[in-house]
Symmetry: C2
Subunit: 225 residues, 2 copies
Amino acid sequence: MGLSVVAISGGMDSCVTLAIASAGGPVGGLHVKYGQRTEERELRAFKAVADHYGVESRLVVALDYLKKIGGSSLTDESRPIPRTEPRSGGVPSTYVPFRNAHVLSVAVSWAEAMGADSVYVGSVEEDSSGYPDCRAEFYDAFGAAVEAGTRPDTHIRIVTPLISMSKAEIVKKGIELNVPFGLTWSCYEPPVDEKACGLCESCRLRIKGFKEAGARDPLSYAAMP
Amino acid sequence: MGLSVVAISGGMDSCVTLAIASAGGPVGGLHVKYGQRTEERELRAFKAVADHYGVESRLVVALDYLKKIGGSSLTDESRPIPRTEPRSGGVPSTYVPFRNAHVLSVAVSWAEAMGADSVYVGSVEEDSSGYPDCRAEFYDAFGAAVEAGTRPDTHIRIVTPLISMSKAEIVKKGIELNVPFGLTWSCYEPPVDEKACGLCESCRLRIKGFKEAGARDPLSYAAMP
Protein backbone atom coordinates (compact mmCIF):
# COMPACT_ATOMS: atom_id res chain seq x y z
CA MET A 1 0.00 0.00 0.00
CA GLY A 2 1.16 3.52 -0.73
CA LEU A 3 1.62 6.46 1.57
CA SER A 4 -1.41 7.75 3.52
CA VAL A 5 -2.09 11.04 5.27
CA VAL A 6 -3.93 10.64 8.59
CA ALA A 7 -5.71 13.56 10.24
CA ILE A 8 -4.86 13.24 13.93
CA SER A 9 -6.71 15.53 16.33
CA GLY A 10 -5.39 13.59 19.31
CA GLY A 11 -8.79 12.20 20.26
CA MET A 12 -9.68 8.52 20.63
CA ASP A 13 -11.26 8.25 17.18
CA SER A 14 -8.28 9.66 15.31
CA CYS A 15 -5.96 7.42 17.32
CA VAL A 16 -7.89 4.28 16.35
CA THR A 17 -7.88 5.55 12.76
CA LEU A 18 -4.12 6.00 12.91
CA ALA A 19 -3.77 2.44 14.23
CA ILE A 20 -5.81 1.15 11.29
CA ALA A 21 -3.95 3.26 8.70
CA SER A 22 -0.46 2.55 9.99
CA ALA A 23 -1.15 -1.20 9.95
CA GLY A 24 -1.50 -0.84 6.19
CA GLY A 25 1.61 1.13 5.31
CA PRO A 26 3.57 4.34 5.91
CA VAL A 27 1.65 7.40 7.08
CA GLY A 28 2.08 11.14 7.34
CA GLY A 29 0.44 12.65 10.43
CA LEU A 30 -1.50 15.91 10.04
CA HIS A 31 -2.59 17.92 13.06
CA VAL A 32 -4.77 20.99 12.68
CA LYS A 33 -5.08 23.69 15.33
CA TYR A 34 -7.92 26.15 14.82
CA GLY A 35 -7.98 28.32 17.91
CA GLN A 36 -10.07 25.88 19.91
CA ARG A 37 -9.90 26.03 23.70
CA THR A 38 -8.01 22.77 23.97
CA GLU A 39 -5.43 23.58 21.30
CA GLU A 40 -2.46 23.03 23.58
CA ARG A 41 -3.76 19.80 25.09
CA GLU A 42 -4.73 18.36 21.71
CA LEU A 43 -1.32 19.17 20.22
CA ARG A 44 0.28 17.34 23.13
CA ALA A 45 -1.97 14.32 22.48
CA PHE A 46 -1.08 14.44 18.77
CA LYS A 47 2.65 14.36 19.55
CA ALA A 48 2.28 11.51 22.03
CA VAL A 49 0.20 9.44 19.66
CA ALA A 50 2.45 10.16 16.66
CA ASP A 51 5.51 9.21 18.76
CA HIS A 52 3.78 5.99 19.84
CA TYR A 53 3.19 4.98 16.21
CA GLY A 54 6.60 6.19 15.02
CA VAL A 55 5.11 8.70 12.61
CA GLU A 56 8.11 10.54 11.19
CA SER A 57 6.46 12.71 8.58
CA ARG A 58 4.34 15.30 10.42
CA LEU A 59 2.57 18.51 9.50
CA VAL A 60 1.10 20.83 12.12
CA VAL A 61 -1.05 23.58 10.69
CA ALA A 62 -2.64 26.56 12.45
CA LEU A 63 -5.94 27.74 11.01
CA ASP A 64 -6.21 30.77 13.27
CA TYR A 65 -8.80 32.36 11.01
CA LEU A 66 -11.42 29.82 12.10
CA LYS A 67 -11.37 31.46 15.53
CA LYS A 68 -11.66 34.87 13.87
CA ILE A 69 -14.61 33.67 11.78
CA GLY A 70 -16.19 32.31 14.94
CA GLY A 71 -19.68 30.87 15.03
CA SER A 72 -18.75 28.12 17.51
CA SER A 73 -18.48 27.69 21.26
CA LEU A 74 -15.31 25.66 20.72
CA THR A 75 -13.45 28.75 19.50
CA ASP A 76 -15.42 31.53 21.20
CA GLU A 77 -14.65 31.57 24.90
CA SER A 78 -17.52 33.94 25.66
CA ARG A 79 -19.93 31.10 24.82
CA PRO A 80 -20.25 28.17 27.24
CA ILE A 81 -19.50 24.59 26.20
CA PRO A 82 -22.86 22.80 26.53
CA ARG A 83 -23.00 20.07 29.14
CA THR A 84 -26.04 18.38 27.66
CA GLU A 85 -26.59 14.95 26.20
CA PRO A 86 -25.43 14.55 22.59
CA ARG A 87 -28.11 15.25 19.98
CA SER A 88 -30.40 16.87 22.49
CA GLY A 89 -31.37 19.61 20.03
CA GLY A 90 -30.15 20.01 16.44
CA VAL A 91 -26.59 20.90 15.54
CA PRO A 92 -24.84 21.89 18.81
CA SER A 93 -23.00 25.17 19.41
CA THR A 94 -19.70 23.27 19.35
CA TYR A 95 -20.05 22.86 15.56
CA VAL A 96 -17.27 24.87 13.87
CA PRO A 97 -18.65 26.04 10.51
CA PHE A 98 -17.45 23.66 7.76
CA ARG A 99 -14.30 22.85 9.75
CA ASN A 100 -13.70 19.41 8.35
CA ALA A 101 -13.52 20.81 4.81
CA HIS A 102 -10.44 22.76 5.94
CA VAL A 103 -8.86 19.68 7.52
CA LEU A 104 -9.53 17.65 4.38
CA SER A 105 -8.24 20.40 2.08
CA VAL A 106 -4.93 20.56 3.96
CA ALA A 107 -4.69 16.77 3.99
CA VAL A 108 -5.37 16.54 0.25
CA SER A 109 -2.89 19.31 -0.68
CA TRP A 110 -0.23 17.61 1.39
CA ALA A 111 -1.13 14.19 -0.02
CA GLU A 112 -0.97 15.48 -3.60
CA ALA A 113 2.38 17.24 -3.03
CA MET A 114 3.85 14.07 -1.42
CA GLY A 115 2.25 11.59 -3.79
CA ALA A 116 0.13 9.91 -1.09
CA ASP A 117 -2.86 7.99 -2.34
CA SER A 118 -5.25 8.18 0.61
CA VAL A 119 -6.40 10.46 3.40
CA TYR A 120 -7.72 8.88 6.61
CA VAL A 121 -10.14 10.76 8.85
CA GLY A 122 -11.66 9.39 12.06
CA SER A 123 -15.09 11.00 11.80
CA VAL A 124 -18.05 9.19 13.31
CA GLU A 125 -21.56 9.75 12.01
CA GLU A 126 -23.91 7.66 14.12
CA ASP A 127 -22.68 7.91 17.68
CA SER A 128 -21.74 11.58 17.55
CA SER A 129 -22.77 15.14 18.21
CA GLY A 130 -24.54 15.35 14.85
CA TYR A 131 -22.14 17.67 13.05
CA PRO A 132 -23.04 17.91 9.35
CA ASP A 133 -19.38 17.68 8.31
CA CYS A 134 -18.98 14.32 10.05
CA ARG A 135 -21.48 12.53 7.84
CA ALA A 136 -20.69 9.94 5.17
CA GLU A 137 -22.66 12.04 2.69
CA PHE A 138 -20.24 14.93 3.20
CA TYR A 139 -17.16 12.75 2.77
CA ASP A 140 -18.56 11.18 -0.40
CA ALA A 141 -19.26 14.61 -1.91
CA PHE A 142 -15.86 15.93 -0.85
CA GLY A 143 -14.19 12.88 -2.39
CA ALA A 144 -15.77 13.76 -5.74
CA ALA A 145 -14.45 17.33 -5.38
CA VAL A 146 -10.96 15.93 -4.71
CA GLU A 147 -11.09 13.80 -7.84
CA ALA A 148 -12.25 16.79 -9.92
CA GLY A 149 -9.95 19.40 -8.34
CA THR A 150 -6.55 17.69 -8.40
CA ARG A 151 -4.19 16.71 -11.25
CA PRO A 152 -5.56 14.15 -13.71
CA ASP A 153 -3.00 11.58 -12.50
CA THR A 154 -3.70 12.26 -8.80
CA HIS A 155 -6.17 9.85 -7.21
CA ILE A 156 -6.65 10.30 -3.49
CA ARG A 157 -9.20 8.21 -1.62
CA ILE A 158 -10.88 9.72 1.43
CA VAL A 159 -11.09 6.86 3.96
CA THR A 160 -13.35 7.08 7.02
CA PRO A 161 -13.04 3.68 8.70
CA LEU A 162 -15.12 4.62 11.77
CA ILE A 163 -17.90 6.56 10.09
CA SER A 164 -20.66 4.03 10.76
CA MET A 165 -19.32 2.52 13.98
CA SER A 166 -20.74 3.10 17.45
CA LYS A 167 -18.46 4.54 20.11
CA ALA A 168 -18.42 1.13 21.86
CA GLU A 169 -17.34 -0.57 18.63
CA ILE A 170 -14.54 1.97 18.28
CA VAL A 171 -13.34 1.23 21.83
CA LYS A 172 -13.41 -2.52 21.09
CA LYS A 173 -11.53 -2.01 17.84
CA GLY A 174 -8.97 0.10 19.68
CA ILE A 175 -8.44 -2.53 22.35
CA GLU A 176 -8.01 -5.18 19.64
CA LEU A 177 -5.32 -2.97 18.05
CA ASN A 178 -3.63 -2.05 21.37
CA VAL A 179 -4.46 1.62 20.94
CA PRO A 180 -2.88 3.78 23.70
CA PHE A 181 -6.14 5.45 24.80
CA GLY A 182 -4.34 6.98 27.76
CA LEU A 183 -2.41 9.26 25.41
CA THR A 184 -5.55 10.70 23.79
CA TRP A 185 -7.71 13.68 24.71
CA SER A 186 -11.40 14.01 23.81
CA CYS A 187 -12.76 16.69 26.15
CA TYR A 188 -13.85 20.07 24.75
CA GLU A 189 -12.50 21.87 27.84
CA PRO A 190 -8.84 22.34 28.75
CA PRO A 191 -7.67 19.93 31.44
CA VAL A 192 -7.94 20.81 35.14
CA ASP A 193 -5.32 18.84 37.10
CA GLU A 194 -4.96 16.68 33.97
CA LYS A 195 -8.61 15.64 34.26
CA ALA A 196 -11.27 15.83 31.55
CA CYS A 197 -14.55 17.53 32.49
CA GLY A 198 -16.72 14.45 32.03
CA LEU A 199 -19.82 16.47 31.18
CA CYS A 200 -19.35 17.95 27.70
CA GLU A 201 -20.82 16.05 24.76
CA SER A 202 -17.46 14.69 23.76
CA CYS A 203 -16.73 13.31 27.25
CA ARG A 204 -20.24 11.85 27.45
CA LEU A 205 -19.83 10.03 24.15
CA ARG A 206 -16.44 8.66 25.20
CA ILE A 207 -17.57 7.56 28.67
CA LYS A 208 -20.64 5.87 27.20
CA GLY A 209 -18.47 4.11 24.62
CA PHE A 210 -16.12 2.63 27.21
CA LYS A 211 -19.04 1.68 29.45
CA GLU A 212 -20.92 -0.09 26.66
CA ALA A 213 -17.73 -1.85 25.58
CA GLY A 214 -17.21 -3.03 29.17
CA ALA A 215 -13.75 -1.46 29.17
CA ARG A 216 -11.85 0.86 31.47
CA ASP A 217 -11.04 4.35 30.19
CA PRO A 218 -7.51 5.25 31.33
CA LEU A 219 -8.35 8.97 31.47
CA SER A 220 -9.41 10.69 34.70
CA TYR A 221 -12.57 12.78 34.87
CA ALA A 222 -13.48 15.66 37.16
CA ALA A 223 -17.12 14.53 37.13
CA MET A 224 -19.17 11.72 35.69
CA PRO A 225 -22.43 12.24 33.78
CA MET B 1 -30.60 39.53 -2.61
CA GLY B 2 -28.82 38.43 0.54
CA LEU B 3 -25.23 38.84 1.58
CA SER B 4 -22.50 37.29 -0.61
CA VAL B 5 -18.88 36.46 0.05
CA VAL B 6 -16.55 37.25 -2.88
CA ALA B 7 -13.08 35.73 -3.14
CA ILE B 8 -10.86 38.60 -4.30
CA SER B 9 -7.31 37.74 -5.31
CA GLY B 10 -6.79 41.18 -6.78
CA GLY B 11 -6.58 39.94 -10.36
CA MET B 12 -8.78 41.06 -13.24
CA ASP B 13 -11.13 38.08 -13.04
CA SER B 14 -11.89 38.49 -9.35
CA CYS B 15 -12.42 42.23 -9.89
CA VAL B 16 -15.01 41.62 -12.63
CA THR B 17 -16.62 39.01 -10.36
CA LEU B 18 -16.77 41.56 -7.53
CA ALA B 19 -18.41 44.06 -9.91
CA ILE B 20 -21.05 41.46 -10.81
CA ALA B 21 -21.67 40.39 -7.19
CA SER B 22 -21.79 43.87 -5.72
CA ALA B 23 -24.34 44.93 -8.35
CA GLY B 24 -26.65 42.35 -6.77
CA GLY B 25 -26.38 43.21 -3.08
CA PRO B 26 -23.99 43.59 -0.14
CA VAL B 27 -20.72 41.65 -0.21
CA GLY B 28 -18.00 40.55 2.14
CA GLY B 29 -14.54 40.53 0.54
CA LEU B 30 -12.21 37.60 1.23
CA HIS B 31 -8.53 37.72 0.35
CA VAL B 32 -6.31 34.68 0.77
CA LYS B 33 -2.53 34.86 0.97
CA TYR B 34 -0.71 31.56 0.63
CA GLY B 35 2.96 32.39 0.52
CA GLN B 36 2.97 33.10 -3.21
CA ARG B 37 5.71 35.36 -4.63
CA THR B 38 3.31 38.21 -5.31
CA GLU B 39 1.62 38.12 -1.89
CA GLU B 40 2.36 41.76 -1.13
CA ARG B 41 1.34 43.08 -4.54
CA GLU B 42 -1.88 41.05 -4.59
CA LEU B 43 -2.87 42.25 -1.12
CA ARG B 44 -2.37 45.82 -2.32
CA ALA B 45 -4.60 45.12 -5.34
CA PHE B 46 -7.24 43.54 -3.06
CA LYS B 47 -7.31 46.65 -0.85
CA ALA B 48 -7.54 49.02 -3.81
CA VAL B 49 -10.32 47.04 -5.44
CA ALA B 50 -12.26 46.60 -2.17
CA ASP B 51 -11.93 50.34 -1.49
CA HIS B 52 -13.18 51.09 -5.00
CA TYR B 53 -16.32 49.02 -4.45
CA GLY B 54 -16.84 50.22 -0.88
CA VAL B 55 -16.51 46.72 0.58
CA GLU B 56 -16.65 47.23 4.33
CA SER B 57 -16.71 43.66 5.54
CA ARG B 58 -13.29 42.16 4.79
CA LEU B 59 -11.40 39.05 5.80
CA VAL B 60 -7.72 38.56 5.00
CA VAL B 61 -6.45 35.07 5.71
CA ALA B 62 -2.89 33.74 5.55
CA LEU B 63 -2.55 30.09 4.55
CA ASP B 64 1.18 29.92 5.14
CA TYR B 65 1.12 26.15 5.24
CA LEU B 66 0.51 26.01 1.47
CA LYS B 67 4.04 27.33 0.97
CA LYS B 68 5.31 24.74 3.46
CA ILE B 69 3.47 21.98 1.61
CA GLY B 70 4.95 23.25 -1.64
CA GLY B 71 4.56 21.46 -4.95
CA SER B 72 4.20 24.69 -6.93
CA SER B 73 6.48 27.23 -8.61
CA LEU B 74 4.19 29.99 -7.31
CA THR B 75 5.22 29.29 -3.74
CA ASP B 76 8.66 27.74 -4.22
CA GLU B 77 11.14 30.39 -5.27
CA SER B 78 13.77 27.84 -6.20
CA ARG B 79 11.57 26.84 -9.17
CA PRO B 80 11.25 29.25 -12.10
CA ILE B 81 7.90 30.65 -13.21
CA PRO B 82 7.40 29.24 -16.71
CA ARG B 83 7.30 31.79 -19.51
CA THR B 84 5.57 29.50 -21.94
CA GLU B 85 2.22 29.72 -23.69
CA PRO B 86 -0.75 28.61 -21.56
CA ARG B 87 -1.66 24.93 -21.92
CA SER B 88 1.57 24.09 -23.66
CA GLY B 89 1.96 20.86 -21.68
CA GLY B 90 -0.46 19.48 -19.08
CA VAL B 91 -1.02 21.08 -15.69
CA PRO B 92 1.68 23.78 -15.32
CA SER B 93 4.12 24.03 -12.41
CA THR B 94 2.23 27.11 -11.17
CA TYR B 95 -0.64 24.86 -10.02
CA VAL B 96 -0.84 24.98 -6.20
CA PRO B 97 -2.14 21.59 -5.05
CA PHE B 98 -5.91 21.83 -4.42
CA ARG B 99 -5.56 25.54 -3.54
CA ASN B 100 -9.05 26.58 -4.51
CA ALA B 101 -10.58 24.09 -2.08
CA HIS B 102 -8.89 26.08 0.71
CA VAL B 103 -10.19 29.38 -0.64
CA LEU B 104 -13.70 27.94 -0.94
CA SER B 105 -13.57 26.39 2.53
CA VAL B 106 -12.66 29.72 4.13
CA ALA B 107 -15.34 31.51 2.10
CA VAL B 108 -18.00 28.96 3.09
CA SER B 109 -17.07 28.99 6.80
CA TRP B 110 -17.24 32.78 6.80
CA ALA B 111 -20.49 32.76 4.80
CA GLU B 112 -22.09 30.26 7.18
CA ALA B 113 -20.99 32.20 10.29
CA MET B 114 -22.32 35.49 8.80
CA GLY B 115 -25.48 34.04 7.27
CA ALA B 116 -24.43 34.81 3.68
CA ASP B 117 -26.18 32.78 1.00
CA SER B 118 -23.63 32.75 -1.78
CA VAL B 119 -19.91 32.60 -2.48
CA TYR B 120 -18.58 34.18 -5.68
CA VAL B 121 -15.33 32.99 -7.23
CA GLY B 122 -13.82 34.35 -10.46
CA SER B 123 -12.35 31.13 -11.80
CA VAL B 124 -12.11 30.68 -15.55
CA GLU B 125 -12.06 27.23 -17.13
CA GLU B 126 -11.71 27.66 -20.87
CA ASP B 127 -9.25 30.49 -21.38
CA SER B 128 -6.92 29.53 -18.56
CA SER B 129 -3.79 27.69 -17.52
CA GLY B 130 -5.71 24.43 -17.18
CA TYR B 131 -5.70 24.11 -13.40
CA PRO B 132 -7.97 21.24 -12.30
CA ASP B 133 -9.42 23.30 -9.44
CA CYS B 134 -10.63 26.00 -11.86
CA ARG B 135 -13.04 23.69 -13.68
CA ALA B 136 -16.84 23.81 -13.48
CA GLU B 137 -16.79 20.12 -12.58
CA PHE B 138 -14.78 20.90 -9.44
CA TYR B 139 -17.08 23.73 -8.37
CA ASP B 140 -20.18 21.56 -8.90
CA ALA B 141 -18.72 18.77 -6.77
CA PHE B 142 -17.57 21.20 -4.09
CA GLY B 143 -21.04 22.78 -4.02
CA ALA B 144 -22.51 19.36 -3.20
CA ALA B 145 -19.97 19.00 -0.36
CA VAL B 146 -21.02 22.42 0.98
CA GLU B 147 -24.67 21.42 0.99
CA ALA B 148 -23.85 18.15 2.80
CA GLY B 149 -21.27 19.58 5.22
CA THR B 150 -23.04 22.65 6.62
CA ARG B 151 -26.06 23.07 8.93
CA PRO B 152 -29.37 21.76 7.54
CA ASP B 153 -30.72 25.32 7.32
CA THR B 154 -27.56 26.69 5.66
CA HIS B 155 -27.77 26.87 1.86
CA ILE B 156 -24.79 28.50 0.21
CA ARG B 157 -24.55 28.67 -3.58
CA ILE B 158 -21.10 28.63 -5.18
CA VAL B 159 -21.32 31.13 -8.05
CA THR B 160 -18.69 31.22 -10.82
CA PRO B 161 -19.95 33.83 -13.29
CA LEU B 162 -16.84 33.76 -15.50
CA ILE B 163 -16.21 30.02 -15.59
CA SER B 164 -17.11 29.52 -19.27
CA MET B 165 -16.13 32.96 -20.60
CA SER B 166 -13.09 33.73 -22.72
CA LYS B 167 -10.57 36.26 -21.43
CA ALA B 168 -11.76 38.72 -24.14
CA GLU B 169 -15.36 38.33 -22.97
CA ILE B 170 -14.26 39.03 -19.41
CA VAL B 171 -12.49 42.22 -20.53
CA LYS B 172 -15.62 43.33 -22.42
CA LYS B 173 -17.82 42.54 -19.43
CA GLY B 174 -15.46 44.52 -17.21
CA ILE B 175 -15.52 47.55 -19.51
CA GLU B 176 -19.33 47.40 -19.58
CA LEU B 177 -19.31 47.44 -15.76
CA ASN B 178 -16.61 50.14 -15.47
CA VAL B 179 -14.21 47.78 -13.73
CA PRO B 180 -11.02 49.58 -12.56
CA PHE B 181 -8.59 47.23 -14.35
CA GLY B 182 -5.72 49.58 -13.47
CA LEU B 183 -6.06 48.59 -9.81
CA THR B 184 -5.70 44.87 -10.48
CA TRP B 185 -2.62 42.64 -10.66
CA SER B 186 -2.44 39.39 -12.65
CA CYS B 187 1.27 38.68 -13.05
CA TYR B 188 2.84 35.69 -11.26
CA GLU B 189 6.05 37.67 -10.62
CA PRO B 190 6.46 40.55 -8.16
CA PRO B 191 6.45 43.94 -9.91
CA VAL B 192 9.69 45.52 -11.17
CA ASP B 193 9.27 49.30 -11.33
CA GLU B 194 5.51 48.65 -10.98
CA LYS B 195 5.54 46.70 -14.24
CA ALA B 196 4.20 43.19 -14.83
CA CYS B 197 6.55 40.71 -16.52
CA GLY B 198 4.40 40.22 -19.61
CA LEU B 199 5.72 36.71 -20.24
CA CYS B 200 4.25 34.43 -17.58
CA GLU B 201 1.11 32.48 -18.43
CA SER B 202 -1.07 34.83 -16.45
CA CYS B 203 0.27 37.93 -18.24
CA ARG B 204 -0.06 36.20 -21.60
CA LEU B 205 -3.70 35.34 -20.95
CA ARG B 206 -4.46 38.89 -19.83
CA ILE B 207 -2.64 40.56 -22.73
CA LYS B 208 -4.37 38.26 -25.23
CA GLY B 209 -7.74 39.03 -23.64
CA PHE B 210 -7.34 42.79 -23.94
CA LYS B 211 -6.00 42.44 -27.49
CA GLU B 212 -8.88 40.24 -28.64
CA ALA B 213 -11.36 42.61 -26.97
CA GLY B 214 -9.77 45.52 -28.82
CA ALA B 215 -9.21 47.31 -25.51
CA ARG B 216 -6.27 48.99 -23.83
CA ASP B 217 -4.83 47.37 -20.70
CA PRO B 218 -3.96 50.13 -18.21
CA LEU B 219 -1.12 48.05 -16.72
CA SER B 220 2.50 48.47 -17.85
CA TYR B 221 4.57 45.47 -18.92
CA ALA B 222 8.32 44.95 -18.85
CA ALA B 223 8.08 42.86 -22.04
CA MET B 224 5.42 41.74 -24.47
CA PRO B 225 4.96 38.12 -25.60
